[in-house]
C-alpha cells in the first residue's frame, strides 16, 4: 500500500512536470513560428495577364495582386473563395491562403485572363 501511494504521489508531479515541459516546449515552438515572417507573394497584373499566372505557395501565405495595367481588373476565385473589388491602376488586393488546395481564379471583367494559386 505504501508503494502504491508513493507511486500515486509521484504520478501527479511527474504528470504535472510532463505537462509543464510539454507546454513549455509547445510554447517555445509557437514562439519560434511567430518569430519567422509569414510568407507573402506578389502577382502583377499587366497587359491583360496575371504574372506569374501559376504560383505554388505554403499554407499561410498572403498573396497580393497589384494592377499595373492601364485598364481595371478584378481577381475572382472560380470557386467563390475570394473576390476582389475592381482594381484600377496601382490598386491592390490581398488574400491569405490558410488551407491547402488549388485555387483557380480569373478576372471577371476580362474572363480570358486566368491564374492559379496552389497551396501546399
Amino acid at each position: 500500500m505504501k508503494i502504491r501511494v508513493s507511486i500515486a504521489r509521484l504520478a501527479v508531479p511527474v504528470l504535472t512536470a510532463a505537462i509543464l515541459l510539454f507546454g513549455a516546449a509547445k510554447s517555445s515552438m509557437v514562439v519560434k513560428a511567430q518569430q519567422a515572417p509569414a510568407a507573402s507573394m506578389e502577382v502583377k497584373i499587366d497587359n491583360f495577364s496575371f504574372g506569374p499566372a501559376a504560383i505554388t505557395v505554403p499554407v499561410g501565405t498572403t498573396v497580393t495582386w497589384i494592377n499595373r495595367d492601364d485598364i481595371p481588373h478584378t481577381v475572382v476565385s472560380d470557386d467563390k473563395v475570394f473576390k476582389s473589388k475592381v482594381l484600377d491602376t496601382d490598386e491592390k488586393f490581398s488574400y491569405t491562403f490558410s488551407k491547402p488546395g488549388t485555387y483557380p481564379y480569373f478576372c471577371s471583367v476580362h474572363p480570358k485572363m486566368t491564374g492559379k494559386v496552389v497551396v501546399q
Partner: protein, 321 residues
C-alpha cells in the same frame, strides 16, 4: 457641292432584289462618311459631308437613330486623358445631324469603373441631345455590385439583368445583356433564361418586321482569343432566322467592324473614349495610344437609317475628327 452616285443592282445571287455585294461595297465607304440607302431594290449612296443634304427626301428614311458606345466615363490614362470632351464631341455630332435621330442607343461601358459620378456625367451630357437613350450594360458598368446600379438607373421595365424590347415605326428593337455571369476563360454570355425570353419575344412577329438587336459584346466571333465573341449567340440568332432583315449593333471592341451573313448585318461601333488594336495586332486588347491629333479620327458615332418597306437598314459611321 453635293455628289450623288447611283448603283443599279449588279449582283442578285439570292434572287431577292438585294445587291449584297453592292451594299458591302457601299458599307466599305462608310468610313469616309457615306450614307447608303436601299430604295426599291436600288442601292443609292450619298456623301455625308457638311455641305451635302443626305437628309433630303431622296435619302430620308422613315426612322433614324444613333448608336453611341464605350464612353468609359472616368478613364483618364494617356490613350485619352479627357473622355468627357470626346463624349461631348460625339453629342455635338449627334446634334449636328441633318436628320435628327429619333432616339439613341448606348451599347455599354457607359462608365469606366461603375462609379455613380461617372454614370451621372454621361446622363447629364446626354440630356443635351433632347432625345431618349436606350442602354445596355458593358462589363465596366457591372463592377462591384453585379449591375445593381445599372438596373436602378437604366433597367426599368427590363427583365433579368436588363434585357428588353420595344418597337419604333414598325422596327422591333431588342436590347440584350451578355456581360453578366462571365465564366473563367469564357466569352460574353447571354444565358438560357434570356435566350428563351428572346424566342418568346419575337415568336409572333411577322417575318417582314425589321429587327435590330443591340448588345455590348459582339454577337459574332470577332476574336475569341481576346474574348471578343459571345459563346451562346448562335442559339439566339437561330430564333431570328425567319426575319428578312436583322441588324446587330455591338460595341466593346472600340473599332468599326461589319459582317453580313444571310439576312443578318453585324456592326460594331467605335468608342467615344479610346481606340483598341485590331485583332491580334497587339499583345493585348487594351487602350491603344495614337498621336493626339489623330485620336478623334479613331472615335465616332453610328447613324442608322431605316426606309420602310426596304430590307436592310443603312448603317453609317462618322468619325469625331
Amino acid at each position: 457641292m453635293t455628289e450623288k452616285k447611283k448603283d443599279e443592282i449588279l449582283y442578285d445571287h439570292n434572287h431577292d432584289g438585294i445587291d449584297r455585294r453592292g451594299f458591302l461595297k457601299c458599307m466599305a465607304w462608310a468610313g469616309t462618311g457615306t450614307l447608303c440607302v436601299i430604295q426599291g431594290g436600288v442601292l443609292k449612296s450619298f456623301a455625308l459631308d457638311r455641305n451635302s443634304d443626305p437628309g433630303g427626301a431622296a435619302a430620308k428614311g422613315e426612322l433614324s437613330f444613333v448608336q453611341l458606345s464605350d464612353s468609359h466615363m472616368g478613364f483618364n490614362k494617356p490613350a485619352n486623358t479627357d473622355v468627357a470632351a470626346t463624349f461631348q464631341a460625339a453629342i455635338d455630332k449627334v446634334n449636328g445631324l441633318a436628320t435628327p435621330p429619333e432616339f439613341l442607343l448606348h451599347t455599354g461601358d457607359i462608365s469606366h469603373l461603375s462609379k455613380p459620378e461617372e454614370f451621372d456625367a454621361v446622363d447629364q451630357m446626354l440630356k443635351n441631345t433632347g432625345k431618349k437613350t436606350f442602354f445596355v450594360p458593358g462589363e465596366h458598368d457591372m463592377l462591384n455590385d453585379d449591375g445593381k446600379q445599372f438596373m436602378e438607373r437604366y433597367g426599368k421595365g427590363s427583365k433579368g439583368s436588363g434585357w428588353y424590347s420595344f418597337d419604333k415605326k414598325g422596327v422591333h428593337f431588342v436590347g440584350l445583356v451578355n456581360v453578366m455571369n462571365l465564366k473563367a476563360g469564357g466569352l460574353g454570355s447571354l444565358g438560357h433564361e434570356q435566350i428563351e425570353w428572346l424566342e418568346d419575344d419575337v415568336k409572333h412577329l411577322k417575318s417582314s418586321t425589321p429587327i435590330v438587336v443591340f448588345a455590348h459584346i459582339p454577337l459574332w466571333s470577332v476574336y475569341p482569343e481576346w474574348g471578343w465573341g459571345t459563346e451562346d449567340s448562335a442559339q439566339a440568332l437561330a430564333y431570328l432566322k425567319k426575319f428578312g432583315s436583322v441588324t446587330v449593333l455591338n460595341g466593346h471592341i472600340h473599332q468599326i467592324m461589319q459582317k453580313v451573313e444571310g439576312n443578318v448585318t453585324f456592326h460594331t461601333a467605335a468608342s467615344t473614349a479610346f481606340p483598341q488594336p485590331e485583332p491580334g495586332k497587339a499583345p493585348s486588347p487594351g487602350p491603344m495610344k495614337v498621336p493626339a491629333e489623330q485620336l478623334r479620327s479613331y472615335l465616332g458615332v453610328t447613324n442608322v437609317n431605316y426606309v420602310q418597306g426596304q430590307h436592310a437598314l443603312a448603317v453609317v459611321d462618322s468619325k469625331l475628327g
